[in-house]
């Protein structure tokens, strides 16, 4: 986890555009991933990611450093995505997120097809989890957050974050059986 953020943050607070670029480059994929998992929609996730950065960078003065910057930012991303979901009043349903976002599967078309199928399945089963379970799994498995930070990001206790994570994993195992 890049703890050199402190120095970059100080420059970003002072309005250094290069520091903003560093922060965005460093955290965009995590922010987008979280937004996409909350919303289940690529276009909405773009907007949510943008909102998250605008909100966070506009509130840098209020970042106190008692959580890591990344956890703080991911919490803002979760809130931006949830607020967008409410505004859109759309149902979170299975979309084809993972399918067109696939990394190059190599030259073997058969392998690529099966990788795509697998990606679609992963996405579909994740989308079927209740939001808190899906977020706990996403933040723990993809972002590597501790249970404490997962709780911080989704707004629950460390214990509840752990329970949500384990319930989510258990459900995924059933769904993928």
């Amino acid at each position: 986890m890049p703890e050199e953020d402190a120095e970059v943050l100080a420059r970003a607070r002072a309005g250094d555009p290069a520091a903003l670029e560093v922060l965005v480059a460093r955290h965009l994929s995590d922010v987008y991933d979280v937004a996409a998992r909350v919303l289940g929609d690529r276009d909405l996730a773009r907007d949510a990611a943008q909102d998250a950065f605008v909100n966070a960078l506009g509130a840098l003065d209020r970042f106190r450093g008692d959580a890591s910057f990344r956890t703080w930012l991911l919490r803002i991303a979760v809130n931006a995505a949830r607020s967008l979901a409410r505004r859109e009043a759309r149902r979170r349903e299975v979309s084809l997120l993972a399918v067109d976002g696939l990394p190059d599967g190599g030259p073997d078309p058969a392998a690529q097809t099966s990788l795509r199928a697998e990606a679609g399945r992963v996405e579909a089963v994740l989308a079927r989890l209740p939001e808190k379970q899906r977020l706990a799994v996403t933040l723990r498995v993809y972002q590597g957050l501790s249970f404490r930070d997962v709780g911080e990001a989704i707004g629950c206790s460390e214990g509840a974050a752990r329970v949500n994570y384990h319930h989510g994993i258990k459900r995924l195992r059933e769904l993928l059986r």
Binding site: A36, A45, V54, R86
Partner: protein
């Protein structure tokens, strides 16, 4: 007291992603060798990790542009909020849009913007008038007003 499998499963994501301390990794590997259920869970986590969501092209530029915008405008603060409030009031009146507070706002580490989520409903949502409990424009932050205007323009 936690069972051994619970402790192992707590740290599986860290181990699968290769970020665990060597001692932890060794202990987990030893456990996995003899525990089929935990091995299945490790495989599930590896499967999930094979499929992250890829950042779409152009998003980084879009975010940087949006993030730079408010900062550049910061110098002209003072005049802008009033202008935006007046413009929003005009647009709201014309469109007859109601703003209603969302019942339970999410907790947020950011005071201000995120504390007062709002939803806009078109004329189809009822009478065009402001209703008791609706958001008063003066209560909206500058960012919310800008967001509102931007949404109306789109």
């Amino acid at each position: 007291m936690k069972r051994p499998c619970d402790e192992i499963r707590d740290v599986l994501p860290t181990v699968v992603s290769g970020r665990a301390e060597p001692a932890t990794e060794q202990a987990v590997q030893a456990h996995l060798a003899g525990c089929e259920a935990c091995r299945a869970e490790a495989e599930l986590i590896a499967l999930l990790r094979r499929h992250p969501v890829a950042v779409p092209n152009g998003l980084e530029e879009q975010v940087l542009l949006a993030a730079a915008g408010p900062r550049q405008r910061r110098a002209s603060r003072g005049f802008l909020p009033q202008l935006v409030a007046v413009a929003a009031a005009v647009v709201l009146t014309v469109l007859g849009i109601r703003l209603v507070r969302v019942a339970e706002p999410e907790p947020s580490p950011v005071a201000g913007f995120m504390d007062t989520p709002f939803q806009a409903f078109g004329p189809w949502a009822g009478s065009g008038a402001f209703t008791p409990g609706s958001v008063v424009l003066e209560e909206l932050t500058e960012e919310q007003l800008e967001l509102l205007l931007a949404e109306m323009e789109s």
